[in-house]
Every structure is written in C-alpha cells, then in structure tokens.
Symmetry: C2
Subunit: 119 residues, 2 copies
DNA sequence: CCTATAAGTATCTTTTAAGATACTTTATAT
DNA sequence: ATATAAAGTATCTTAAAAGATACTTATAGG
C-alpha cells in the first residue's frame, strides 16, 4: 500500500463506479440477464423512479460499464446492455457478493445468540 | 444470481461497510499499518474533521471491523486496530484496488487519446 | 382527430453525509 | 491557580443523492 500518498487508495476508484442505490442491481441484471429495455429494468427494480433510473443508467453509460442503444421509432425503444469492459467487474462483484453473504449470515447468527442469551 | 428476489443482491451488504468517504483508507491504514491512536489517524487522513473521523470509526467498530480500546488515563489514550473479522476484507479490498487501478489507467489512456485526436 | 405508448424531462422536497467551528473533560506538570 | 494534552461532543451549515409528481414527444391505430 502506498504510505506516502494515501490518495492512491484505488479502492475508491472502484467504489465510485458502484456507489448508487441501484447500480449493483442494474449491473447484475444486465450482466446475467442480458440486454434489457428501460421499462424492463424499471419493472425489475421495484420502487425505483424513472428519474433515478435514468440518472443511474446515464452514469453507468458514461463510465462505459453499460451500453445504451436508441432505436428511432415511436414509441421509443431503448436497449441497455453490459459492455465488455463492464464484464471485467464480474470477479469483483462476485467476491463482494460472497463476502456480503457471509457477513449477512454472521449478523443473523449474532442476532440469534442475542436472542438466546435473553432467554 | 437470485432472479426472484432482487433484494438478495449481497453486494450491497459489502458496500454498506465500505461506503463512507474515509472508510477504505481507515481500514487500509489499520490493516497494513497496525494499531493507531485517534490522533495518528487524524494526522494520516489529511483534511478529515474530528467529528467525521469519530463517526466513521464508530460505524466500523459497530460492524466489528475495527476494535476500539480506551485506556483510562488523562489525557485520554484510545487505540484502534483491525479485528480478525476485519482482516477477512483483505481479498475484497485487494481486488477492488486492482480493478480501480486498471480503471484509472484506462481513463488516463482515454484522456491521452482525446488529447492526441485534438492535435 | 383522438388516444395510447415508451422513454424519458422538469421541478420540488426530503434525507443523508460531510464539513466548519466552538466547546468539554480531567489528571498532571508548572 | 493555571495551562496542557488527547479524544472526543455539540451545533449549525452545505452538498449530494434520491424520491414524488407532473409533463413532454412523436407517430401509428382506431
């Protein structure tokens, strides 16, 4: 780890891509579910507003994690897909998923033992 | 990936621990630099306020990522260290560091070629 | 001519994180 | 008696992210 310049904590570069209430979910959907239309995503992400979905998609597009393709028809048809570059996040997300899962179980166990101790 | 219940995106569990402007840095410092006092950390994290440092440390402590030990002396002495559990984040942070580094270089190359194209 | 449709915009409000600044505590050394 | 030190609290302000709600656009189909 760089001791001299702590700004060189590159973890933040990755976090920057992933931070956003719905971004991991969006990425996972496109990564494992393939190309999706705007309305498909909105249906999949229960509770998201159109404004928020638009923002998150545009940011991911700007980072070249996803691709946005507009078909010039009426009513509009817009398709989102993961890019090749976006796919490079897969091992990272996988490990985060694993750790997050273990973390969740750990917390459930903790609650469990608290519960037992209170008996 | 769970298709039925998208709330089961466990990546968010990991993100939840890591989100916080200074948290990755704090974790890295304790993980690789060993036990540190409050003032050591404040010196290391240039620009952080006491209030923010306190908040971030307390949150990490609550998640059992770090340990806070108070020595009952005056003036106070408080030491922070990474827990064994906190150490389990190391592979995750390592991968995020790697990806983030590659991402940074990619962006630098992009800027470079934009620069060249404008000649 | 009216309506429905998909993918958004435009505003406004709420929530949360972080920063700025001043204050507190208490045994010890002067 | 007073000043000092370390590790904080207490308030207030600012900024950024997300939510609620209403509106827009352009054409094909009835």
């Amino acid at each position: 780890m760089e001791k001299k310049n702590p700004d060189l904590c590159k973890v933040d570069n990755t976090l920057h891509i992933l931070i956003g209430k719905w971004k991991p979910l969006i990425i996972m959907h496109l990564m494992f579910g393939g190309t999706k239309r705007f309305s498909d995503l909105q249906r999949a992400l229960t509770g998201i507003t159109t404004k928020t979905l638009t923002t998150q998609l545009r940011e991911l597009e700007e980072q070249e994690i996803i691709l946005r393709v507009v078909y010039p028809v009426v009513p509009p048809r817009v398709e989102y897909s993961i890019t090749e570059y976006g796919m490079t996040l897969q091992p990272v997300l996988h490990l985060m998923h694993e750790w997050g899962n273990a973390h969740l179980e750990r917390q459930l166990n903790k609650d469990q033992s608290t519960f037992n101790n209170n008996q």
